[in-house]
């Protein structure tokens, strides 16, 4: 069976589709065709016994004031950014303190940094990091790490996702 040969779906195929008798591949071909062919989409719907049942339902009335309520809500200021949950914030603070304790003072980091630089080879061997420069860099790196952790925590809490009923 080739989807390319269909102008419209044969009746037998419509029936097999509705009854779930097609292979997955053929069923996808039929569905894809129906998505692009209004006539066949209507034929599939008409062949499905549940369609008439759904058609017996009236459209629910929409509350008359609902659109105005939405527009009013739009005019209201957006809610403040949700803060990081207290538990996560406390955990991050503890982690930051632990990093400071384990890594030591800025001076020790400078010494360690110099060893690393020396190991990089002759080109870098001549480079020395002035303490005045390294301290703000160290502080900035720590703050950036903390900010990245906070953003990650925020995403874990409720960032963009494909929601699931489960």
């Amino acid at each position: 069976m080739s989807a390319d040969t269909w102008i419209h779906l044969p009746d037998a195929l419509v029936e097999d589709f509705v009854e779930g008798r097609l292979s997955d591949l053929d069923a996808v071909r039929v569905a894809t065709h129906a998505d692009d062919c209004a006539m066949c989409r209507n034929r599939l719907a008409a062949a499905e016994p549940l369609t008439s049942l759904f058609a017996s339902c009236d459209e629910p009335d929409v509350p008359a004031d609902l659109a105005a309520r939405v527009i009013a809500a739009l005019d209201a200021p957006p809610p403040a950014e949700r803060p990081v949950a207290p538990g996560i914030a406390a955990g991050l603070a503890v982690a930051a303190i632990a990093v400071l304790v384990l890594l030591g003072s800025p001076g020790e980091l400078v010494a360690g940094g110099q060893i690393v630089w020396q190991a990089l080879g002759s080109t870098l061997r001549a480079v020395e990091l002035p303490v005045a420069l390294v301290t703000p860099v160290w502080m900035a790196a720590a703050m950036a790490t903390f900010a990245a952790a906070a953003v990650t925590a925020r995403r874990l809490e409720g960032g963009p996702r494909q929601a699931s009923w489960r």
Binding site: G20, D24, A27, V28, A31, T32, A34, D35, R41, E48, L50, T51, L53, F54, S56, C57, D58, E59, P60, V62, P63, L66, A67, R69, V70, I71, A73, L74, P78, Q162, A163, S164, W165, R166
Partner: protein
Amino acid sequence: MAARALRLHDGEIDESPWIEAAAAGDPEASAWLVERYTPTVYRFTLRLMRNEQDARDATQDTLVKVLRNLERYDDRWKFSTWVISIARNTCIDTFRKRKRQSWDEPTDVADHGPSPLELTSRQQRAEVLHAALDRIPPLYREVLVMYHFDHMKYREIADVLDIPIGTVMNRIFRARRKLRDAFDAELDGES
């Protein structure tokens, strides 16, 4: 502003000028989108959640999210599909908040009509259908709502759920089977 609503040859309205204007902060364009999508979103959320107050709240939340995040809209998606996907996520958020209560509790939607004896056959069928829909898990209810009530294409449902089209069809088949069973159980008066 009226010139923005260009009718295309297939009968659909080109919404892109309104979307762009609303994204640029035009309140009239925002209001136009709200008026246009309030019925769609309300009916979708009502059919999923089966509670009028929840549907009102979800509609408001959905459209506020949509209008405040228009710059994130990717026009490779159909706009209505994007809106429905946000409405669905909003319903799921409500569902999760209510999970410890009971999602399956009787809802207020069917409480306003006449007594069963006064119902016509058509109304009775609709009532039983809604009761049957309440019986099946939301995972299956949502695909039936999208396909049968909102007349969405398989591809659009796949986009909203972010799953392959074959999975959509399998889920719809299973959902119909569950709905038929639930419908029969309702007719038999099972609790």
